[in-house]
Each structure stands twice: as C-alpha cells, then as structure tokens.
C-alpha cells in the first residue's frame, strides 16, 4: 500500500476548518480568531521548514548536522521550560536547570534506543534519531516544567513549614521531601495517563501517522510501545533529575531555604 500524497488543495480543504472557526469566533466575540490564525500560520511555516531541513539532513546524513539540529531542539525546549515557570530560578539556573535535566534524560534514552534497540547503521541516521529525540524531548519537557513549577510554588507556599522542620534540626532533604515527592509525581502523571489510555481512548499520533502512511498496524503498534516506554523513561528520569537539582538549589551551604533564588511571579 502506498501513501496517498496530499496536494496543496487537500491541505486547503483542511485549512477551511480553521477559517470557519475564526469566522465563528469573530461573530461570537470570543476574541480567539487572531491567536488561532496566527498559530495555524506558525505551525504551517514551522512544519514546512522542518520538512525541508529534514529532507536536506536525510540526503546528507552528516553527524555534525544531526548534532546541530539536536542542539537547537534542546535549547528551544529549555527556553520553553523556563518561560512556563511561575517562579523560575534567577540567573543561569532558570535556563540551565531544565536544559541540563532534559539533556541528561532525553539524550541518554534516545541513544539507548538507537544503539541497543533499533541498531541501524550509522546509529545517528537522522530518519530515526531526530523523530525519536523529538518525541522524547517534547514529553520530557512537559514533565520537567510541571515538576519544577510544582516544586518552586510549593516551597514558596510552605516556607514556614519547611523552615520549622529545619529549625528542628532536620536536614534539607528531609525538610523538602514532601514537596519533592509531590513534584515528581505531578511531572509523571501525564505519561502514566497516556499509557493507560493508549489504544482504548486514544490512538497515539505517531502510530496513527504510521498506519496512514501504510505501515502494517502491528508494526506500528510495536513502534508505539517502544516510543511510549522511551517517553516514560525520559520523562521520569528527567523529572527526577530536575526536581532533585532544583531542591538542592533551594538551599544554600548552611541548609537555609533561599527563596530569594527564585524570581517573584509576574502578576
């Protein structure tokens, strides 16, 4: 079975949905027509660009270019984690914390999949490396930003409790343990939910895409299972690393709670 190639006309039909929605929004004074159209245009342009980039990359398959694209993806994800924080760390920590945790977890998990599971030659073949990294990175980014946001909010709100525990002589690990556990749990909930609902409530996008592109369903399912596990591994380890580092950073060398290392939330 071959892929039914989509013509620009086919996409234009789908775009009518967006236009109709924007029209409705205008009539009902919802005020979402601008962001809706803007984001639709943005996604079209961004996806076309990445399509072209991937095409070039697939033709040349030079490790340097793969590494470059992976770096760009990591930096953009790191920035995204940072701007989603209500109280982010001041200075380089704001960007560095999430980015470092994503690097450690996503790259390790993707490398593991490329080297041990898929085992193609060369291992950095962009047809596999970039989509896998993208899926792991995107989900890890969500887990880390949810976990970090929860941790810093919780520490700020429960400051008196944490300091009372310090005053009783507990070390920082014990004083922050409740907030830390909760933050890691919050970061991991989306992937746990996604795994429980997969196949019954939702057909994951990657699998659907492969089936539409003509892959036999059972093959597509096997890849989906692989990806789910990779995502869970990446999200779990990334969230643990990020929340762990952030917890440490909330205390100084004398184990004082240092909320002044967080930026005040913008109202």
């Amino acid at each position: 079975m071959n892929v039914v190639a989509l013509s620009p006309f086919d996409l234009a039909v789908a775009a009518l949905l967006i236009l109709a929605l924007a029209g409705l929004s205008l009539r009902m004074h919802l005020g979402v027509e601008r962001p809706l159209l803007l984001s639709a245009v943005r996604s079209t342009v961004q996806l076309l660009l990445i399509g072209l980039v991937l095409k070039l990359l697939f033709d040349s398959a030079r490790p340097l270019w793969v590494a470059l694209l992976a770096t760009v993806m990591l930096v953009v994800a790191g920035r995204e984690v940072m701007v989603r924080q209500k109280r982010r760390f001041v200075g380089w920590w704001g960007f560095g914390l999430g980015t470092l945790s994503m690097f450690v977890s996503s790259f390790a998990v993707t490398l593991l999949a490329l080297l041990l599971v898929i085992g193609i030659d060369p291992w950095y073949a962009p047809q596999y490396a970039i989509p896998l990294l993208g899926m792991v990175l995107g989900n890890t980014m969500n887990g880390i930003s949810l976990g970090l946001d929860r941790l810093t909010q919780d520490a700020a709100q429960r400051r008196a409790v944490i300091e009372a525990r310090l005053a009783l002589g507990q070390d920082w690990r014990r004083a922050i343990s409740d907030s830390r556990r909760e933050a890691i749990r919050i970061g991991m909930i989306p992937i746990i939910n996604a795994m429980s609902a997969a196949g019954i409530v939702s057909l994951p996008g990657m699998m659907t895409g492969q089936i539409l592109a003509g892959t036999p369903p059972v093959e597509a399912v096997k890849y989906q299972i692989l990806v789910m596990f990779l995502i869970a591994g990446g999200t779990g380890s990334g969230t643990m690393v990020a929340v762990g580092l952030a917890s440490r950073r909330l205390f100084d060398e004398r184990q004082r709670l240092r909320l002044d290392r967080l930026r005040l939330p913008r109202s």
């Binding site: 525990r165 009783l168 409740d178 004082r256």
Partner: protein
Amino acid sequence: MPSLQLRQIATRHVGPIDLSIGSAQCVCIRGASGSGKTLLLRAIADLDPHRGDALLDATSCSRLPAPEWRRAVALVAAESQWWSERIGDHFDRGVESRWMEQLALPAAALDWEVARCSTGERQRLALLRTLMQAPAALLLDEPTGNLDAEGTRWVEALLDEYRRERQAALLWVSHDGAQIERVAQRSYLLDDGRLQALR
C-alpha cells in the same frame, strides 16, 4: 554548662549585636513589632544569611553542620507548623510524659489530628517537640503568645524547670512586661536594631 554568645550578629536592619547568655540564664527581649526580634532569632538559628557569629560554649555556629547547630540552639517559632496529619508523627523520639502532664496535655494527644487541635494546644505541643531534641540553648519567639493566663503559667514553669535542670541558656522574646519580670534575669529593648539594657 552551655552558654550562648552573640558576636556582632547582624541581619538586614538588625545589629550588629553582642550578647552573652550564661548557662541556666534567661534573657528577655522586647521591642515594637517590626523591630526585628524574629529576624534576630532566625539569624542566631542560622535560618537567614547573616554577618557576625554565634557561639555555643566555645563552638562557633559555622564550625558545626547546620542541622546539628539548630538542634543544639533551637528556635521555637511564634506560629507552630505541622506537616503530617497526626501529632505523633512529628515526634521522632516520643515525648516525656511528665512534660505532657505539666502542660495539661493527655497522653492520647499524640494520636490527635493536627487539624482538630486548638492553636494553644498546638503551641504547647510544638514546644514539647523542640524540648524532646534536648537543645542546649532555646530561642523562644513569644512562646505563650496564643495561650491564656493558665496556659502561660504552665509553659513558664516548664521552661524554668528545663533551664535549671539542663543548665540551658534561654533567649526569650516577649511583649509582656509582667512575664519578663517573672522569667528573666536580664532584659533588653530592641530598638532601631540595637539592644538597650532594661535592668
């Protein structure tokens, strides 16, 4: 023979302050709200960054790991804080039943739910929680602030006994002149970041 010494302690608008509290001594501090009494106690407990130094006997605060210092020089905050459902979960080493009786708390209090205790009960329990760590010096921030006259007497008597039995050094923040008369050997007014001797 624990004694507590402050050398040029300064934090935000408070200090630098020098003070020496001998073993089995109780020193009281009063001052207008916002004068920095709580800030001073927090600096001594090393909960806030500060300049200067605090010493227990001859041991400087910075020479001990922070948790060890805070167990020895224990701050009891004005508002008690609880993180678990049950009162007993907050007591790592159980509780001295004699002290419970002295504060008119039944032995079953350890099984109480925190949410169902009154503010006064919580304040008395929080004091016992700290005393169970056997601190050598106590930093008390209005320890009877939420108690009625009777509860205040119980707490004063218990702290007096603890001070004499353990030779503990007490730094006690109070706004109640009569209480200061009852418990303190020396007292100071904290004003404009400086301590002025009251008597």
